[in-house]
Symmetry: C2
């Protein structure tokens, strides 16, 4: 049983090259982007502008294959794929929370973008702190590296 996903739009960003792309929105605060939603979905944007942040699900379209252990951008050890946010995955779906600045017709002006230019968008969800934030007590191998994430850039190994 499989599920077919069709892009509902495209994300335009300043990140033209996998090399140098910030690996998470926390390292991408200066970067603005534009979501160009397929106009046929425009009615679905009603009420969205009231939210300061939105969750984007998108296709890691440059990732054609995956390995079950990978060496993350940070650190030297091989890690289990599902313990990383690595783009190459069995279902290469990316997840980012971005700031929503404004919506004009079918265009969404966003900030903190960490995805490649031309990324196919799969879904938009409102970010609701009561639902989405967590006090996580353990972050595994990230323990010593999470604070470095905002400075780390991709080295282009995905493409």
């Amino acid at each position: 049983m499989y599920m077919e996903c069709l892009p509902i739009g495209v994300i335009h960003t300043p990140h033209k090259d996998p090399k140098g792309t910030p690996i998470q929105p926390s390292g991408a605060k200066e970067f603005e982007g534009i979501i160009e939603l397929d106009p046929k979905y425009r009615d679905g944007l009603k009420d969205l502008e009231g939210f300061s942040h939105i969750i984007l699900l998108y296709h890691f379209h440059k990732s054609k294959k995956y390995n079950l252990t990978v060496k993350p951008y940070m650190g030297k050890e091989q890690r289990g794929l599902f313990a990383t946010r690595y783009p190459g995955r069995p279902n290469p779906i990316g997840l980012s929370v971005v700031r929503l600045n404004r919506i004009i017709e079918n265009m969404l002006y966003i900030q903190d973008v960490d995805m490649l230019d031309g990324t196919p968008l799969l879904d938009i969800k409102p970010f609701i702190p009561e639902v989405d934030n967590r006090d996580a007590d353990r972050i595994g191998w990230h323990e010593n590296s999470a604070h470095r994430m905002s400075e780390t850039k991709s080295d282009g190994r995905i493409s």
Copy 2:
């Protein structure tokens, strides 16, 4: 251009009927579930047990169609679909953050489950507060209802 998603496992939960299922993990704290990962992906679980919380992406497999405006569980007004977490979406991909209690072989014992029993799993990502938490200043139409979410249950309208 489309993207084909194949389930990597199945999520077993106590929620056998859409009616009465909690609508978000914040209303599902008492509920435990088990992810049965397809054994061929087992090596990808390495290092995951160090994380207290994980992000699950899954197929809203009972949602066969969508409308661009919907009446959410909370509230009486029609809202734009993308301003809601409603299951019926162009790409019916669900997102939940759950607590990870332990992993035994290809079975993940999780808590705070708000998805239906038998839900096909698409991806597991580690939850990292530095990456995933946000101080959102605006939550739109949820402003007056977010605190009620944990008490609200589905009325079964999806199925």
